[in-house]
């Protein structure tokens, strides 16, 4: 940017398995956002490759990546990023506009998605009429609507009080339980400890990749 090349991330390599919930941690300027933009297909690495389902997305055109983004990535932002002039159901349905889904089906699926996050009763409300926690739930419903491979959450609780933040994290846990792959970018250690796997970045380098052993292994718990 502005003609000065900055190497934000270097020699970072890791895999994300289906159904995983993963926290990417690191202080400001550690390269978290760049990493998120690359996973979210908004940015491309100057070197190296990013594989999404065995396809190197670094080779794809801008248009192809947009199409893939609509179908495979669900974004959740710190500041919700809902369109202020559209009501909840229209906001949730928005990604489907870019998947070529007709209006009737968009609304039906948006309502299902709103129901999944417990927000169906707010379907006709506009963002300004909703609390922060409610807006974030709407944003999560929007992220889920196209059944993405990965939900990418950037500081999803950063703008919320701790109780509401806890509710949002509980929602992510529930989604993960249901099989949804989730990547959370955060600098809050409290959030990271809730995720089984944590990747730590510092100055653009991957410094650790730890998977906590569950206190009660899932397989045992299930049997």
């Amino acid at each position: 940017m502005d003609g000065v090349a900055v190497t934000a991330v270097r020699n970072v390599s890791f895999d994300i398995a289906r159904g995983e919930i993963l926290a990417v941690m690191g202080p400001s300027g550690s390269g978290k956002s760049t990493l998120m933009n690359m996973i979210g297909l908004l940015d491309l690495p100057s070197e190296g490759a990013i594989y999404l389902e065995r396809e190197n997305v670094a080779d794809l055109s801008e248009d192809r990546r947009s199409v893939l983004r609509a179908r495979s990535i669900g974004f959740v932002f710190q500041s919700y990023n809902l369109l202020a002039r559209h009501n909840a159901v229209e906001n949730v349905a928005l990604p489907l506009v870019y998947c070529g889904v007709n209006r009737k089906e968009r609304i039906t699926r948006a309502e299902q998605s709103l129901e999944a996050v417990g927000m169906l009763h707010r379907a006709q409300h506009f963002p300004r009429q909703l609390s922060g926690g409610e807006q974030q739930r709407i944003a999560i419903a929007r992220a889920l609507i196209a059944s993405p491979l990965i939900v990418l959450a950037d500081e999803p609780t950063g703008a919320l009080d701790s109780r509401t933040g806890g509710e949002i994290l509980a929602l992510f846990d529930a989604l993960n339980e249901a099989g949804q792959t989730i990547v959370m970018i955060t600098h809050d250690p409290g959030i990271a400890t809730r995720c089984r796997r944590t990747i730590r970045l510092h100055d653009g380098q991957l410094v650790s990749d730890e998977t906590q052993l569950p206190l009660v292994p899932k397989r045992v718990a299930a049997s």
Partner: protein, 407 residues
């Protein structure tokens, strides 16, 4: 994203800010309205002229008095009636191309029938006049020979005069009307020929001279104010014209090198030239009106650029949610198109209303044709595409990462 979805998004965005949307399209509204109005007035003027050309009749030459010298003083054209009834006879007899000819004198007078009266043109002429102008009767008859020679007290009415003097259903034929206290019998009513032509009452030339108009300004008692002559075919017009000119010079004893005391004109040709001039003026006015369309387009571009800047974050969100560059471009082009089309539609309606108002207030004939409407709408679509493209392109080129960072 489909074009239809693009229009849906555009309509949604424009509805959020109705006042701004309206003000943005105002330039287009005014531009299109003025184009439609100017076209309507231009087409109306041409229609009127065509009607006049038709009303004169085909292949007609008109001979009017020219400037004359009297004691070394050059008088205004038409001051002296230099043509005579014997000139008419000579033209008829000696020029084979001329099928019919008639001399006329005219003035205005009040016509009275019972309690109704009407001010109109009184034209003293012969039956040949109606032959020259291909003018048929709707009822009654033309003047008889004895009436023409013997100053018969008869009159043939134009349809406007008949309508003004007689109640609907009242047959004017055989009725008595008075002109300057002379009672006259209505023997005929003419077909309609056009609003400007129908307001007239014809009496025999001899009657007009004897009873109404006299021949005060004539060189002799035989004088007529003008002569009209019908030429057999279009191709013979030029030949007939020069033959009439040399015949009249000879008859009026005009020496070589001296100016004619008459003028031979082809009114249809003159009007056709006038028609060309009207077309040119109309095109010029359309060009001026198009400038306001250009200004309207620039104002749309201006507002769209501001709108793109204001909605940078929205663009970032749409990109992050899977919107392609071309989807963003389509969305903003659709907005510009909707503004222009809506503005164009309002402009067409406004233009039709305006030209109807002009028609009523100024009494002009106006004619709104589908061609003008189509042209105006094509212009506004083109304006939308041309001036919407740059802001839309700018929006599509925004980096989604940067756009998402914008507050």
């Amino acid at each position: 994203m489909t074009v239809l979805q693009g229009f849906q998004i555009a309509l949604h965005a424009l509805r959020l800010n109705p006042l701004r949307s309206f003000l943005t399209m105002l330039g287009i509204v005014i531009g299109v309205a003025s184009i439609v109005t100017v076209f309507a007035i231009g087409a109306g003027a041409q229609l009127r002229l065509q009607e006049q050309i038709r009303s004169i009749g085909a292949n007609v030459l008109m001979i009017t008095p020219g400037a004359v010298y009297q004691g070394g003083v050059r008088l205004k054209e038409g001051t002296k009636l230099t043509m005579t009834e014997s000139d008419v006879q000579a033209i008829l007899e000696q020029i084979p191309e001329v099928q019919a000819a008639a001399g006329s004198i005219a003035g205005t007078a009040q016509t009275i029938h019972e309690s109704k009266n009407w001010n109109t043109t009184i034209n003293g002429t012969t039956t040949g006049h109606f032959m020259v102008r291909d003018w048929q009767l709707s009822s009654g008859r033309f003047f008889s020979g004895p009436e023409e020679t013997g100053a018969g007290k008869v009159v043939i009415l134009g349809s406007t005069v008949a309508r003004e003097l007689f109640a609907p259903g009242d047959d004017p034929i055989g009725a008595q009307i008075r002109i300057m206290n002379v009672p006259l019998e209505v023997v005929g009513v003419l077909d309609r020929k056009g609003p400007a032509q129908d307001d007239v009452a014809f009496v025999p030339l001899s009657t007009a001279k004897l009873r109404f108009l006299g021949s005060a300004s004539g060189i002799n008692r035989d004088s007529v104010a003008y002569i009209i002559a019908k030429v057999a075919a279009d191709g013979q017009m030029a030949g007939a014209r020069s033959e009439i000119e040399s015949l009249l010079r000879q008859r009026h004893r005009i020496p070589v090198g001296q100016e004619d005391d008459f003028k031979v004109q082809d009114p249809a040709a003159a009007m056709e030239a006038q028609q060309g001039a009207i077309r040119t003026v109309a095109l010029l006015l359309v060009a001026i009106a198009s400038v306001s369309l250009l200004v309207g387009g620039i104002s749309i571009m201006n507002v769209m650029i501001v709108s793109v800047t204001e909605r940078t974050r929205e663009i970032g969100i749409r990109r992050a949610l899977g919107g392609r560059m071309r989807d963003i471009r389509l969305q903003f082009i659709c907005e510009a198109l909707v503004l222009c089309l809506l503005g164009g539609a309002i402009g067409v309606v406004g233009g039709i209303a305006l030209s109807m108002t002009v028609a009523r207030m100024a009494g002009w004939i106006t004619s709104v044709d589908s061609e003008a409407i189509g042209l105006a709408l094509v212009f506004s679509i083109a304006t939308g595409l041309v001036f919407g493209f740059y802001p839309a392109h700018k929006a599509s080129k925004l980096s989604p990462i940067e756009a998402l960072k914008t507050e």
